[in-house]
């Protein structure tokens, strides 16, 4: 009977210890991704210090508990010494966590000052615009006309790329006029929310990427149905390459579409998650215009598909607003037009080209 009890004890101890051992092994790989900005390196080291302190506390306390429940198992009916407390030792162990958290607070503040530092003259300013459920990156060129700025907008399954130079401070102006999103690149070890604030205020984030490469980013604040698909990339190019890239895209610009006279215009209204018409007829080979009136407070667009292949992509339109899409001439046949943001029956229709 006694032996059985002893074996039971041993087994219960092993059961308790096995996950702890597993935890110990896993702790070996609990390090953040390789830092890719100058400040991320500081955060990476801060993490290592804090994690190290936490791991030390963890192993000390767990070790103590395991030892105690093993060593001081009830063996007979004798009462152990009824110790109620000890003021001196209690003062000591109030001081221990106080010292630990004060050290942690001080090193955190030192790192925070580096992370939050702002350069007086950033090399590049990009407006990061979040909407449901993609991003627009608009390169501010310094003049007052926003329409001639180069910008790139993502589409579902086609995340946009934010191209930045290596070694130069880049200021991101984080703007949302819909729900809250969060700009997060894991190798930068930082995120910042895009909050629709009153009076046109925006959050800002400044980064200096230190290693060339392509880094995956993603919206980190839950923003509705397709939150998981709000991904993007950041591509860091060496400075000369970046300058050449920016000059070429800015020369090309993003021309504003203007409908040429004489073409057919199809008026489409998007409201209550549905288009007003679900059948469009146009002539084969002739370019036409779709004017979209988005009456809702979120994004819609119109794209044209044939047999599952996208023939035409219309830019996302954050409502309420209107826009006109220039559609090139199409071959005769049956097409589908659809809102890529809401591919539901109400926002789908048939386009017949004859």
């Amino acid at each position: 009977m006694r032996r059985l009890a002893a074996r039971w004890r041993l087994r219960s101890l092993l059961r308790a210890a096995a996950p702890l051992l597993l935890i110990g092994l896993l702790a070996g790989c609990m390090l953040p991704p390789t830092p890719a900005t100058t400040t991320a390196k500081s955060v990476w080291w801060l993490y290592l210090i804090v994690f190290g302190m936490g791991a030390a506390v963890f192993f000390a306390v767990e070790g103590f508990i395991l030892y105690a429940i093993f060593r001081y198992r009830r063996r007979d009916d004798r009462l152990p010494n009824q110790l109620h407390g000890n003021n001196r030792i209690e003062m000591v162990w109030t001081a221990i966590p106080t010292v630990i958290v004060l050290i942690m607070f001080v090193v955190s503040m030192i790192s925070l000052a580096e992370v939050e530092a702002r350069s007086p003259e950033p090399y590049l300013e990009v407006e990061v615009i979040g909407f449901q459920w993609q991003w627009t990156f608009r390169y501010l060129d310094g003049d007052t006309d926003p329409s001639n700025d180069y910008s790139v907008t993502g589409a579902p399954g086609a995340p946009p790329t934010l191209t930045v130079p290596v070694g130069k401070p880049v200021r991101l102006i984080l703007h949302s006029d819909n729900v809250i999103h969060s700009f997060y690149v894991r190798n930068f070890l930082i995120k910042r929310d895009l909050v629709p604030l009153p009076n046109g205020r925006n959050n800002e984030l400044e980064l200096t990427v230190s290693e060339p490469g392509v880094y995956a980013g993603q919206c980190a604040e839950f923003c509705g149905d397709l939150h998981a698909e709000m991904t993007f990339n950041v591509e860091a190019l060496p400075l000369a390459e970046f300058d050449a890239w920016l000059a070429s895209v800015q020369a090309g610009g993003t021309p504003q579409p203007t409908p040429s006279p004489g073409t057919t215009t199809v008026a489409l209204v998007a409201d209550l998650l549905a288009f007003n018409i679900h059948q469009i007829d146009v002539a084969a080979g002739a370019p036409f215009v779709i004017s979209l009136d988005n009456r809702e407070a979120f994004s819609h667009n119109v794209s044209i598909y044939r047999d599952g292949e996208r023939i035409f992509f219309g830019d996302y339109l954050q409502g309420p607003a209107t826009t006109s899409y220039q559609v090139p001439g199409l071959q005769a046949g049956e097409y589908t037009f659809i809102c890529d943001v809401h591919p539901i029956p109400g926002m789908t229709g048939t386009l017949t080209v004859e």
Binding site: V43, R192, D193
Partner: protein
């Protein structure tokens, strides 16, 4: 008062037991109603968690669409926090606190009944969103503007707000009742510093509820006005501010964390001394640490909002780090209670030790998150999901099961089967760590929370699969528990009034206690009157004992 339950009944008319339970104002029956009701919501919210974990097991959307997924994690969080963890601990407190202080009932038995009956009604209102086109789907934090009328037009969010306001009202009424009971209903000799720690933690918890919940109620009504009656508290276009909602939510939400953890700490502080056969080490320090946590919990709310760019970081980082100090003191007290004890690893003790080891991890990850630069990386990732589950589940839920196994013999006169209990604990403990420990690593690698899908190339697949297996192991661990309940009710071991050699007054009455609780009370000269009674002839130990806490205050 007790006279309520002693009121003469109508003639020879015998009421059915159903009617008896539906109309009861006895704190013990209401306590059991609380616990059963909470457990049913726990099962429902647990099933929702399995929906979420199944979908995340491998990349791609296999089982549900994004709308169902978003509703599942929203309802899982809401129900677990507001309709399981908080009320189940209130249920135990309802049953145990009057017994622990030698009172015949709660101060306001009828208020006690109504504050229970609001819960199932509020909970069903929140769930009824599923019947009218979809439940709330904005996460349990319901951040604006996503929860505004423009982006969440369905009725689910309105029902969430109305139902939760009802649940909050129940909490407020309950907390008033606890405070009045603890201050006014203590037996002669039961001074404040002779109260069991569980009563102390409930006193601080009730105070936190009373101060924090009305703030959330006001916020929820403001959001309801924004959504339905043209208000603009949180609408930036009309001069409102969506960050205001976050301030209101977390001004409630962080004390809420202590509302769910303090009673569980109280349970553990009752269980550890009994099964170590020693008094709690540093009783007074523990009480002061509890009160300090209560105060500090109102100055740390914005650490949930570091990445909004709208809060003063050093203050909230400092206060958040500081709250680790009283928590650390408690951990040392528990460790010293085990030291040189006479330890029996019964099922309640295993769950209490499980609490110590798991809550420690939640505490450490919490201190890591208090550092703003680290939080900038880890906020809104699975690291936070891991952290909050180590606190809520590894902390509070382990405390709930410790309380269940510990007080079951008091409530029903029978002890739950120890072997099945240990199987339950082992499956629960391993499943819990399997489900939630990998989430730390996922978060450190940058997996955001609340995503319905992730890329197969992100390197998150294996850990997610492991986590899903753990979630199903936790679900499976409920089976031995349910079998144990049924078997014990049919043929459980009858164990008398005091099977564990308890310390506190509830063990001085019969199991289950009579409607008026006590025929006779033992003399109360310390925080352990039943221990004193048991060892009153044990001169050797009493002589060796220093002055018990509370001496000289009677």
């Amino acid at each position: 008062m007790a006279t309520t339950t002693l009121a003469p009944r109508f003639g020879a008319f015998r009421r059915s037991w159903v009617w008896d339970w539906l109309t009861t104002v006895d704190h013990k029956k209401i306590g059991i109603l609380y616990i059963v009701n909470s457990f049913l919501f726990f099962l429902a919210a647990g099933l929702l968690a399995l929906v979420v974990r199944s979908e995340l097991a491998v990349p791609g959307l296999q089982f549900v669409n994004v709308q169902t997924y978003n509703q599942a994690f929203t309802m899982h969080g809401t129900i677990m926090v507001f309709l399981f963890v908080v009320p189940v601990l209130s249920g135990f407190a309802n049953y145990i606190v009057p017994l622990m202080i030698g009172a015949p009932d709660m101060a306001f038995p009828r208020v006690n009944a109504i504050s229970f009956w609001f819960l199932p009604v509020g909970g069903l209102l929140i769930f009824s969103g599923y019947l009218v086109g979809g439940a709330a789907a904005e996460g349990w934090t319901l951040y604006t503007p996503l929860s505004g009328a423009a982006y969440a037009p369905g009725y689910g969010t309105d029902l969430w707000l109305v139902g939760l306001t009802l649940v909050g009202t129940a909490s407020i009424l309950g907390s008033v009742n606890f405070i009045a009971t603890i201050f006014k209903m203590r037996a002669p000799g039961k001074t404040l510093f002779r109260m069991p720690i569980f009563v102390w933690t409930m006193l601080v918890t009730a105070t936190l509820i009373l101060l924090a919940t009305p703030v959330l109620a006001a916020g929820m009504i403001a959001l309801l006005i924004d959504r339905n009656y043209g208000g603009s508290f949180f609408d930036p276009a009309a001069g409102g501010n969506p960050v205001l909602w976050q301030h209101i939510f977390w001004f409630f939400g962080h004390p809420e964390v202590y509302i769910v953890i303090l009673p569980a700490m109280g349970v553990v502080s009752e269980v550890l001394p009994v099964f170590s056969r020693k008094p709690l080490f540093g009783y007074r320090a523990f009480v002061f640490a509890t009160i300090a946590i209560g105060f500090l919990s109102f100055s740390v709310w914005a650490h949930h909002m570091f990445v909004t760019g709208q809060v003063f970081l050093p203050f909230f980082a400092f206060m958040t780090a500081l709250i680790a100090v009283p928590t650390g003191v408690k951990m040392f007290n528990w460790m010293a209670t085990l030291w040189r004890g006479s330890i029996s690893l019964t099922t309640p003790m295993l769950f209490a030790i499980g609490f110590l080891t798991m809550f420690l991890i939640g505490g450490i990850s919490g201190v890591m998150l208090s550092s703003p630069p680290i939080d900038f990386h880890l906020q809104d990732t699975y690291f936070v999901v891991a952290h909050l589950h180590y606190v809520f589940f590894g902390g509070s839920v382990f405390g709930v099961f410790a309380a269940t196994y510990y007080w079951f013999p008091k409530m029903f006169g029978r002890r739950l089967n120890e072997r099945l209990g240990k199987i339950h604990f082992a499956m629960h403990f391993i499943g819990f760590n399997l489900a939630f420990f990998p989430m730390h690593e996922l978060g450190i690698q940058g997996m955001p929370r609340r995503i319905s899908d992730y890329s197969a190339t992100a390197g998150w697949t294996e850990l997610n699969l492991l986590s899903t297996l753990g979630a199903f192991l936790i679900a499976a661990s409920i089976l031995p528990f349910l079998v144990n309940l049924v078997a014990t009710f049919i043929n459980g071991e009858r164990v008398g009034d005091d099977p564990w050699e308890g310390n506190t007054l509830e063990w001085a009455t019969s199991s289950p206690p009579p409607a008026y609780n006590f025929d006779v009370l033992p003399p109360i000269r310390s925080e352990r009157p039943v221990f004193d009674l048991r060892h009153r002839h044990d001169a050797e130990h009493l002589a060796a004992e220093p002055h018990p806490p509370g001496e000289g205050e009677a």
